[in-house]
Symmetry: C2
């Protein structure tokens, strides 16, 4: 194959077929992967979950992952957050003319590895090539189909006063990683993205508790934005304890220096779980035993005070509103 992607790779002819066969089919091969217009998948019982997510992160690779891993984790976690076992993914690539073929292979291989870890199959794709300057590098949109567990009934609308807020690990690593990948600020910090597939966590907690009300991944906008959305959707208040929020020392240092709130830095491998307080300890221990869950913590509670708002209690007892999310995200991370 040519060493860079050219416009002819997007023209639907010989070069397109070569690209699809040598890179994508080679990486993704499975019994349902198709070169026809749509993949044909066996019937299954129960409700379907259906999700989509576009990824435009720049640079395309970063410590702890790349846009390929990110794109699979994103759709897998969106399905898992609704209590759905991820079954099938689609992926649509838009590639800039001149993008290195070797980089595209790395991206496809990361997608393959992450999909294999979860047991999800990439069954259909699309490849477009944009002219130089028409896009920046490579964009990937993944969509996913999952089978909703019969015991799952989750929504951002179902948080109740008296529930407990659990985070499945330390926060803000993905956002901080991308920030440093763009500009090191003269800092030599060991920060890696937390980007990870979280289906195991969702499955395990739904097995031990029938009282989980909401699961959300704390991606764009971070934990703070997700909690504000839940507070609004469920018409409740959410009260956080500052000292309970797990933040790596390196992230604390970076955010302190730059004046950023870690609650608004993206995590790409963390769930916020809202659960009835009676099941909270059981769920917390289950998360801690699951892959990517070892640093889980209870970070707050759902209340009927300050409805639609998120408040935060400092170490010395003062309670303030967490500033509402809004305005430009720094940096764009997915």
């Amino acid at each position: 194959m040519k060493s860079i992607i050219t416009l002819s790779h997007g023209a639907g002819g010989k070069d397109t077929n070569e690209l699809i066969e040598e890179i994508f089919f080679d990486a993704f091969k499975n019994e349902y992967l198709t070169a026809d217009d749509a993949a044909i998948l066996p019937s299954f019982t129960g409700k379907l979950a259906f999700t989509t997510d576009g990824f435009i992160v720049s640079p395309w690779k970063f410590p702890g992952g790349n846009i390929g891993k990110l794109s699979v984790c994103g759709s897998v976690n969106d399905l898992a957050a609704m209590g759905a076992k991820p079954l099938y993914l689609s992926c649509a690539f838009v590639i800039e003319e001149g993008f290195p073929t070797a980089a595209l292979k790395k991206i496809a291989n990361s997608m393959k590895e992450t999909a294999a870890e979860v047991g999800v199959k990439i069954v259909v794709g699309d490849t477009k090539v944009a002219g130089r300057g028409q896009i920046d590098g490579v964009f990937i949109t993944t969509s996913g189909i999952g089978a909703v567990l019969s015991n799952a009934n989750l929504s951002g609308k179902y948080a109740k006063a008296g529930d407990v807020v659990i985070i499945t690990g330390d926060i803000g690593r993905h956002g901080a990683t991308i920030l440093l990948a763009r500009d090191s600020f003269g800092i030599d910090a060991k920060i890696e993205s937390d980007c990870a597939p979280l289906w195991e966590i969702a499955k395990n907690v739904l097995e031990v508790s029938a009282e989980i009300h909401t699961i959300r991944d704390a991606t764009r906008g971070g934990v703070g934005t997700v909690l504000y959305e839940i507070a609004k959707s469920s018409n409740v208040g959410i009260s956080l304890y500052r000292e309970k929020i797990p933040v790596q020392n390196e992230i604390k240092g970076l955010t302190g220096m730059l004046g950023l709130e870690p609650l608004y830095l993206a995590s790409e491998g963390r769930f916020v779980i809202i659960v009835d307080k009676n099941d909270a300890e059981k769920v917390l221990q289950t998360v801690k035993k699951s892959p990517y869950g070892e640093n889980a913590a209870v970070i707050g509670e759902v209340t009927d005070e300050h409805k639609t708002k998120v408040t935060i209690k400092t170490e010395i007892g003062a309670e303030t509103f967490l500033p509402a999310p809004g305005g430009e995200l720094l940096p764009r991370i997915c």
Copy 2:
């Protein structure tokens, strides 16, 4: 709302919510449309079809449609081509900072109208905003889920010698439209994209014939590329009759002047249908009575000569190979 899209519309906060609610939710509203991470859809029996397609056409609007209509037709037609009733769509937008909000509303409304025509529901979406220059205008990726008709068994691999090749209308209009939308070449031709949803055609022909082997939409690369792919996948030859291929006079004029082959200009509202010759007339008449099918024609036959190749017979009886597709598409059209 602000009159242009800003980076804050992609940050996951207040402006993002406003954008989603005022433009996308307002246009797409239905009982399954969700602001959660994934849409939850009722179970259905039978096989699923799953497809994805990215759209990066520039300019975003053109005579006969815009990128929104195109993106819905693309996924609807990919499902229909596999004999699947389109049920649900997802849409992922990547929007350039500075893109006019009013244009985005027009795009969303076209998507709504086209989806309503087919009876497909847009149930989940994603919105990212890229910096000025990071992308050109707006990109849309749609994915679709369909229910495969129990009597459909279609693939590019199933064409057989003795089958007949039907095209459901005159060819090349979408490619020619985009070509002229970029550069008028001093031509004042009345050319409109053929962009259209084709589910009705697929449903109707599958009702009248159990001997339809392949349906493909003649999008990127046009009829010529699609036929070369089928010839290769099915290991057959395909022989076309030049004078039977329906081409609008305006398209004939334009392609003649520019030295382009209409068989390689994209159609976005045309199926190639490969059917046993005994059912060909019945299928042709059914297409002609369906929406968007009035100019349908038998344009060739499947043979066991010249396997993997497409040949074309001229008006005066000479037979030549259709040059194989490959190289750069002119213009990029989807």
